[in-house]
């Protein structure tokens, strides 16, 4: 009798809790709903919530380091080449199927063949077929050589439902795999993550609904439905949060915007030091920026202090491409400061005539901070004889323009957050020719010595050797000035005070995992 009553009451309690909808506002559209193609924040947030990666950052301990997730444990061979992962049992996809090694193998082969997203981290060491399913719950990955950033990069390795994708392929360029499900994934998900894609209007909104069979289970007060809306105008974003129509808004508001929100009742503005780089990428393939002295001149002409103190308000000054908190950052890099005389001298030495000093600066039109920096840059550069044209573009178009050197503007303002917890992310990931074609590599930088050093660094088996090589690479890169390294800004985000459980460890997108939040009203 008691058991019966208990059985009747308990599910009732869970069911009687009203479904909790969460409204999240992002100021950019989701450019890729396929996790194998996700590179920017909005796309990564979608991937993190709809799919499970093989490993997960240790957010519970406030660290970026990888911890078990879909992979329960792993071993590494002594020569550092063979990883063997033991998969967790009982993980179900949204389709109802069990997740097995076959899905992992399929997902990696797919990522390698599609060559989008972060595949360039794996393509140097893996080929389709190098990953094998030893048994349904054991995966073996045989790398071509030891590879420093490998484990950390698996945070971005999302597992897709092989059967679901393969039963939805269309004709395409991948032989027996057709289009590899690209068209299907524009409108649906093939994941095992805590949320399912209920609806996706690329231009406006993605609605995610709770997946009851999620392997980590559900507790009271967790979110059952997410409305991920894209709203570009800041004034609207602020109003939505202030009025309660939105529960959380993204990090891309202006400093003034966050100040306004901080003063409002019922709103929390969280500030954390970030592992984010704000830099102005210079297209080294577009004259006059193909001349290293011109680039160095620009680096000496920019007023870093005004940018840090007055535009960013609370950022750390950048030194080189690697954010200051990341292990492996070279603390001995030269500091650039505004030196107009030196800039003029370098320009003179470059041999480029004044008539050729005409450049274009592009920024994301919805980020006024980038516009402010652009006007500062224009002011600084015109003082030494440049002509600078400023152009605002929507983010999606900048991602598009970045695919070719001819269409990439001379200078583009870019925020680049650490993608995976390794110094490789902001060295190899930005300055090795294999990354050309994304917004991270709009410099189209090519220095054979740096390329060699970075590849050697990846292969190094001993940690000290790795770090030495990565630091050497940083020194060479900075000497070539492919970017103006401005700041490691503070990370800010705003949400209503009834949202609990927000944790920021630095990696892009993992702080907006809706599964981690509880709503306590």
């Amino acid at each position: 009798m008691l058991v019966l009553t208990a059985l009747l009451v308990l599910p009732g309690q869970v069911l009687s809790q009203a479904p909790i909808t969460f409204n999240y506002i992002e100021q950019q559209i989701i450019t890729a709903s396929d996790p194998a193609a996700a590179v920017d924040e909005s796309s990564l947030i979608a991937a993190i919530n709809l799919y499970d990666p093989l490993l997960y950052p240790n957010v519970e301990q406030g660290s970026m380091a990888p911890r078990p997730h879909l992979a329960e444990s792993w071993t590494l061979s002594p020569d550092g080449r063979v990883y063997t992962f033991t998969l967790r049992r009982g993980v179900k996809f949204h389709s109802g199927r069990d997740l097995t090694a076959a899905d992992v193998v399929f997902s990696m082969d797919r990522a390698l063949r599609l060559k989008k997203g972060f595949s360039w981290v794996w393509t140097p060491v893996l080929e389709p077929g190098a990953i094998k399913a030893v048994d349904p719950y054991t995966v073996r990955m045989e790398l071509k050589q030891a590879y420093a950033p490998f484990l950390g990069s698996l945070l971005l390795f999302f597992i897709l439902d092989k059967d679901l994708v393969m039963s939805n392929i269309r004709p395409g360029p991948y032989g027996e795999f057709g289009d590899y499900g690209t068209a299907f994934l524009e409108r649906a998900d093939a994941g095992s993550g805590p949320y399912k894609m209920e609806r996706f209007d690329r231009a406006t909104e993605m609605v995610m609904a709770r997946f009851d069979g999620y392997w980590r289970g559900w507790k009271p007060n967790q979110i059952s439905r997410v409305s991920f809306k894209t709203v570009t105008e800041e004034a609207t974003v602020k109003t939505l949060l202030l009025s309660g129509q939105a529960d959380m808004v993204n990090q891309w508001l202006t400093v003034q915007g966050f100040r306004e929100l901080r003063q409002a009742a019922g709103i929390v503005v969280k500030e954390d030091p970030s592992v984010q780089l704000f830099h102005l990428e210079m297209n080294t393939k577009k004259p006059p920026l193909d001349n290293v002295k011109v680039r160095q001149a620009i680096a000496y002409a920019f007023d870093y202090d005004i940018a840090i103190q007055q535009i960013f308000e609370g950022a750390t000054k950048a030194r080189g491409p690697v954010p200051v908190r990341v292990p492996g950052w070279n603390s001995n890099l030269p500091v650039f400061a505004r030196n107009t005389a030196k800039a003029r001298q370098l320009l003179a030495e470059s041999g480029v005539p004044a008539s050729a000093l005409s450049i274009e600066y592009a920024y994301v039109v919805t980020l006024p901070l980038e516009r402010q920096v652009g006007l500062l840059l224009k002011n600084n550069l015109e003082a030494i004889g440049f002509k600078v044209e400023i152009r605002g573009e929507p983010w999606a178009r900048i991602v598009d323009l970045a695919t070719k050197a001819e269409t990439t503007p001379h200078i583009t303002a870019i925020f680049d957050t650490l993608k995976y917890p390794h110094v490789d992310s902001h060295t190899y990931g930005m300055y090795h020719p294999s990354c050309w074609g994304t917004f991270r590599c709009m410099s189209f930088y090519e220095n054979p010595k740096v390329t060699q050093t970075l590849e050697a660094a990846r292969r190094a088996t001993k940690p000290e050797e790795q770090m030495r090589l990565y630091q050497a690479a940083q020194a060479m890169i900075v000497a070539d000035a492919p970017s103006i390294y401005v700041a490691n800004p503070l990370h800010r985000i705003a949400f209503r005070d009834y949202v609990k459980g927000y944790r920021y460890v630095g990696l892009l997108g993992f702080d907006v995992a809706y599964y981690d939040f509880t709503i306590v009203k």
Partner: protein, 302 residues
């Protein structure tokens, strides 16, 4: 109707008298004078911008991040924006931009439109039909939409916005002139001129053109306001002036982000647009009453 004239001079005299009477009628209407006043003040501000703007260099590549977001006050009448620039000075320079764009666009539209309209109206035949069909094509869609479509193909800047708007505006004048020419063609003095042996071109330009000026002038005046509205709209969407150009529409788009806390960035440029368009409308209405002109103003709309 006037009796058949024997000499050209006798034809010109009544016209001068008409102008004088028109001016008197114009002076009687307060609203029209207000409109004229506004326009003259704007034009004056635009021309004298370097002199009357408190901080003329703020309209260019000036930055001062220690001075951002000052509310309107004694030092800065309209406050400062997010780059530390004086909003008042930028609004004044914005007048320059709007007025010059309006003038250039309408000049182009006028030249093309009037020429084609004259040709189509005076010389009947397949030329005429072709021109009028072409006009129909361009008028098949609202001006803003066509201008937007053209800007999609060009790089976003003020010059291209100007080209796009001019591209969509000339058909109005063709149609207007065409209609006027048709109705004037039968007039006695044209017949007289032709019978005297004047060449068709001379007839067109010396006799027809001066008699159809009044509706054209009225339309030009009203159109200045509408062109300004279209140009500011394009700039607002990011397809016109780029930073740091102080175009009113761009200023509204940039300042909008900081509403409602720092309201002055977007409000004053909007007010300026309103007053400018109002001025041209009042003036145009006054002129229309004075010349007693009926024009089909809004088909297709601005």
């Amino acid at each position: 109707m006037a009796a058949v004239a024997t000499g050209m001079e006798e034809l010109h005299a009544p016209r001068r008298e008409e102008w004088r009477r028109a001016w008197h009628r114009f002076r009687a209407s307060t609203l029209s004078l207000v409109g004229l006043g506004i326009i003259l003040a704007m034009a004056g501000a635009a021309v004298l911008a370097p002199v009357i703007a408190p901080h003329p260099d703020h309209a260019g590549a000036f930055v001062d991040f220690t001075n951002t977001f000052r509310p309107p006050g004694r030092a800065y009448l309209f406050g400062t924006d997010d780059i530390g620039r004086d909003v008042l000075s930028r609004v004044i320079y914005g007048a320059r931009i709007s007025l010059s764009i309006g003038a250039v666009v309408l000049a182009i539209a006028l030249v093309i439109g009037v020429t084609l309209g004259l040709i189509a109206g005076y010389w009947t035949g397949w030329w005429s039909s072709l021109i009028m069909r072409l006009t129909d094509v361009f008028l098949a869609i609202p001006s803003i939409v066509l201008a937007l479509a053209v800007t999609a193909v060009l790089k976003p800047n003020l010059t291209n916005a100007m080209i796009a708007i001019a591209f969509t505006w000339w058909p109005w004048y063709t149609r207007l002139v065409y209609g006027e020419v048709l109705s004037v063609k039968q007039e006695v003095y044209v017949e007289a001129s032709r019978s005297v042996g004047a060449s068709p071109w001379r007839v067109a330009f010396r006799e027809i053109l001066p008699n159809i000026w009044s509706p054209v002038i009225v339309k030009l005046t009203l159109d200045m306001g509408f062109v300004i509205l279209v140009e500011t709209g394009l700039s607002f969407l990011g397809l016109g002036a780029q930073p740091p150009t102080p175009a009113w529409g761009t200023m509204i788009a940039e300042g909008r982000i900081y509403m409602p806390g720092n309201w002055w960035l977007a409000t004053f440029p909007g007010l300026a647009i309103f007053i400018a368009v109002l001025g041209f409308n009042l003036l145009g209405d006054g002129l229309r009453d004075v010349f007693d002109v009926q024009i089909e103003q809004w088909r297709g709309g601005a």
